[in-house]
């Protein structure tokens, strides 16, 4: 007789218990998916937000620019590099940028900050968080050579309105001070005061001219990917293409934004730790149930072994039971998790009242809406882990079953 069928029938004998046990496995699936998917969504969000805050998923820059971002550290042929980058698969966009520190003055007030010089023809809100969060006005066009987009906090500090002038002063590639005039064409508000008060978008050509850059030069090319998980692979590809150019460095976001990377790494670890702990607890519960069922059937096992069944087979029998349980639990898990997942992936839960709109971690603003996103690999991992854990939970009961003493020694009833 097939042990597998027997195992199944054993389970079906006590439907309620089997169902409840399978349900707890399913619950484990639910929890695991919840933790993993909310984490993955949050991390992907943060990574993408961090990317569109300026440096992209990958950034191609001068090797020393990351440590000492002075204006002399530049890519002289940034435009050409960009063309090259666009040809790689997985790259959805590449933007030329000049970034640096400057002083911004209006009337008698002034404030220090960072500027990102962009090409208005190239830039879109999709890859630029500041254009995405415009609250007033719009981005400057290619014709508006002196347009500027400022943050709401800076506009407040410097008393700026649309159309008012803003003088910015920066240190050019030779160390000289250059001042230029610009007029406010738009105001953005990300919600993070430190960004809204210190960041400004300038026209690329204006800054290029002010810095005395070569016509194709820029500080960096920000590369945006379809899937941020491709960053390492593509970094290798690009490093290979430009291996002969010591003046080009390719950085993936973990390197250009180490604070963010560190935070995500730790949070992910904690997430897994948590899931592991809960998994242990559920496994313990399953072991508990299986053990009880084994204990109840001692006479049965005793008789089976008296009739010739090997202890090894009894062990396998119980293991198969827990195998079935795992499958059942997984199936049930999929059933109960799917509607929950679909809801959270689509609509999510809004925590903005508890968290507020200005919560940032790792230098990136956190979206107060909790949503799910499950990668195929993650789903497979969860399935595999749940299965293994359930199976593992059955090991001890299985061995206990195999060690059933001879029937004569078993108590009646």
């Amino acid at each position: 007789m097939q042990l597998g069928t027997m195992a199944w029938r054993n389970l079906m004998r006590n439907k309620r218990r089997t169902l409840i046990t399978a349900f707890s496995v399913a619950f484990g699936v639910l929890l695991s998916v919840t933790f993993t998917a909310s984490g993955d969504y949050a991390y992907t969000n943060m990574i993408n937000t961090g990317a569109i805050m300026g440096l992209g998923h990958l950034s191609v820059e001068h090797p020393e620019y990351q440590d000492t971002p002075t204006m002399d550290k530049r890519l002289r042929d940034a435009e050409d590099i960009r063309q090259h980058l666009l040809q790689a698969s997985g790259v959805t966009a590449a933007r030329i940028r000049i970034m640096g520190q400057a002083m911004f003055a209006s009337g008698a007030k002034s404030v220090g900050g960072t500027f990102i010089a962009i090409d208005p023809d190239q830039e879109t809100p999709a890859y630029n968080i500041f254009l995405r969060t415009l609250v007033d006005g719009r981005c400057f066009t290619a014709d508006e050579e002196h347009g500027v987009v400022v943050g709401a906090k800076m506009a407040e500090k410097l008393n700026l309105r649309l159309g008012k002038k803003l003088i910015f002063t920066l240190t050019d590639k030779n160390g000289d001070l250059i001042s230029e005039l610009s007029r406010v064409s738009g105001i953005f508000k990300t919600g993070d005061d430190s960004v809204d008060g210190a960041l400004v978008l300038l026209p690329l050509e204006l800054v290029r001219g002010a810095l005395g850059y070569e016509p194709k030069a820029a500080s960096l090319v920000a590369v945006f990917l379809d899937d941020h998980r491709e960053a390492s692979a593509l970094q290798g590809v690009f490093a290979g293409i430009w291996a002969g150019r010591p003046d080009i460095a390719i950085l993936r976001w973990q390197q250009s934004q180490p604070d963010l990377a560190g935070l995500i790494a730790v949070d992910r670890l904690f997430n897994y730790l948590l899931q592991f702990l809960v998994g242990l607890v559920i496994a313990a519960g399953i072991t508990n149930t299986l053990l009880m069922s084994v204990m109840e059937r001692r006479r049965e096992f005793g008789i089976m072994m008296a009739l010739g069944m090997m202890p090894g087979q009894v062990v396998r029998l119980v293991l198969l039971e827990s195998c079935w349980l795992a499958l059942l639990g997984l199936a049930l898990g999929v059933v109960i998790t799917t509607p929950w997942f679909l809801y959270m992936a689509g609509i999510g839960i809004d925590f903005s009242r508890q968290i507020g709109e200005d919560y940032s971690a790792g230098g990136v603003l956190i979206d107060p809406v909790m949503k799910f996103r499950l990668y195929r690999e993650s789903a497979m991992w969860i399935g595999g882990a749940v299965f293994s854990l359930t199976l593992a939970a059955g090991i001890f009961p299985a061995f206990k079953a195999g060690k059933t003493p001879p029937v004569e020694n078993l108590k009646q009833g």
């Binding site: 604070d259 560190g262 935070l263 607890v281 519960g285 919560y359």
Partner: protein, 407 residues
């Protein structure tokens, strides 16, 4: 009392099954004690970082200083204020602030100069214990300064390097002096990391020509037990002319983070116990089910439904109690062990990372608190109690005859 003795005796029956159930509950509870302690440890570390390193529990300023800091907006009668605070059970330390420029080699950066009262600062913050390289300030070393971690990186500073400080003195003259880097701090908070520049009060006063007055007084509760809000109003009443703020008011984002964490612990407990509860419920149901004939006999012999109910509840509470004791026995030592030997994530965290602007420590210690032990146990009782209700009710409402002949 009959009920209890019955309950106790019933405990001893079906031993294996009982112990298995108790075991599962104990395991879950132990894990939760460990987790709760880990979370408490994390929160304690964050609070220590936030409050204990730089922010302090309270800060006192002249009104208007925080919105628009100025060398001239100082607390004039600082000794008097400090004395008053001491009399009223607070511990306090004065601070001097100014903005300036620091140059090293070809690089320069704007900084926030801070004059530290070495003796008293130790009482309210533990900045002196967070030097990453080199040493903390010393009263005798007039030319030694301690800088923030990011500042050191921006200016490419090592311990022993020379820096020039340029600032506008209180008399309008250009204050400038050479200093030597005595120490570099660990990551504390965004502001300090990027622009923290520390010197002794005496050095500050000499450099900036500020012979009297201080810009802030950092305060801590002398008695640890007092509620933050109560202490805040007490402090404010003591110093009516000044602006008094506690750390939650100074850093509302951080405060929100802590509030959230308390909630998340409760949610975690509920979730985990829910998983356990389902199985416990099943086990209990099973055992009740088997004993239906027994209950039938008891009822026939005069046991009231309430009696049966009570007995079952007491039985299961006994089980929970044993489980709780076991959990304590396993979970507590585990948590205490990790209280000494932290879980170390520093391999994964390359540099300083911040949450809500406060530095994030990559080494996690468990901190065993009343909360971290009591809550898991309390919730265990709660969940088990809820789980037993249905079966106990069912048993209590049995009809004796059909019960006896059940099966």
């Amino acid at each position: 009392m009959q009920i209890v003795s019955f309950a106790l005796r019933n405990f001893n029956r079906a031993r294996t099954r009982t112990w298995i159930t108790v075991g599962a509950m104990a395991f879950a509870c132990a894990i939760m004690i460990f987790y709760a302690s880990l979370l408490e440890g994390w929160l304690a570390a964050m609070e220590k970082n936030a409050v204990g390193m730089d922010l302090g529990e309270f800060q006192v300023h002249v009104r208007g200083f925080r919105d628009d800091p100025d060398l001239y907006k100082s607390i004039g009668d600082e000794e008097h204020v400090l004395a008053r605070l001491k009399e009223n059970g607070f511990v306090a330390s004065p601070r001097l602030y100014a903005s300036g420029l620091v140059a090293a080699g070809n690089a320069s950066s704007g900084v926030e100069l801070r004059g530290v009262d070495l003796a008293r600062e130790k009482l309210v913050t533990s900045l002196d214990q967070h030097v990453w390289q080199g040493q903390w300030l010393d009263e005798q070393d007039h030319g030694g300064v301690v800088v923030g971690r990011k500042l050191a990186r921006i200016l490419a500073l090592k311990v022993g390097d020379e820096v020039v400080v340029v600032a506008q003195g209180a008399d309008g003259s250009t204050a400038n002096e050479l200093f030597r880097v005595r120490g570099i701090l660990q990551s504390v908070a965004q502001g300090v990391d990027r622009s923290g520049f520390f010197m002794t009060s005496a050095t500050f006063r000499r450099l900036m020509i500020v012979p009297h007055g201080v810009h802030a007084i950092v305060v801590k509760r002398g008695v640890a037990g007092e509620e933050l809000d109560i202490a805040t109003s007490r402090l404010a009443n003591l110093l009516p002319g000044y602006e008094v703020r506690n750390w939650r008011q100074l850093q509302p984002v951080l405060a929100r983070l802590f509030n959230m964490s308390d909630i998340s612990l409760v949610i975690m407990l509920l979730i985990t116990y829910a998983a356990v509860g389902i199985l416990t419920l099943n086990a209990l149901l099973m055992s009740i089910f088997e004993r239906i004939p027994e209950f039938g006999v008891m009822k026939a012999l005069g046991f009231s439904p309430w009696g049966i109910f009570a007995m079952i509840v007491v039985e299961s509470m006994l089980q929970v109690t044993v489980a709780a004791a076991l959990a304590l026995g396993a979970g507590l030592p585990l948590a205490l062990y990790f209280g000494r030997h932290p879980i170390d994530f520093s391999r994964f965290v390359q540099s300083s990372s911040t949450i809500a602007g406060i530095a994030f420590d990559a080494r996690w210690y468990c901190v065993v608190t009343v909360n971290s032990v009591v809550l898991p146990i309390l919730f265990l009782y709660l969940v088990a109690g809820l789980a037993i209700l249905y079966p106990a009710l069912k048993a209590a409402l049995l009809k004796p005859l059909s019960a006896i002949y059940h099966r």
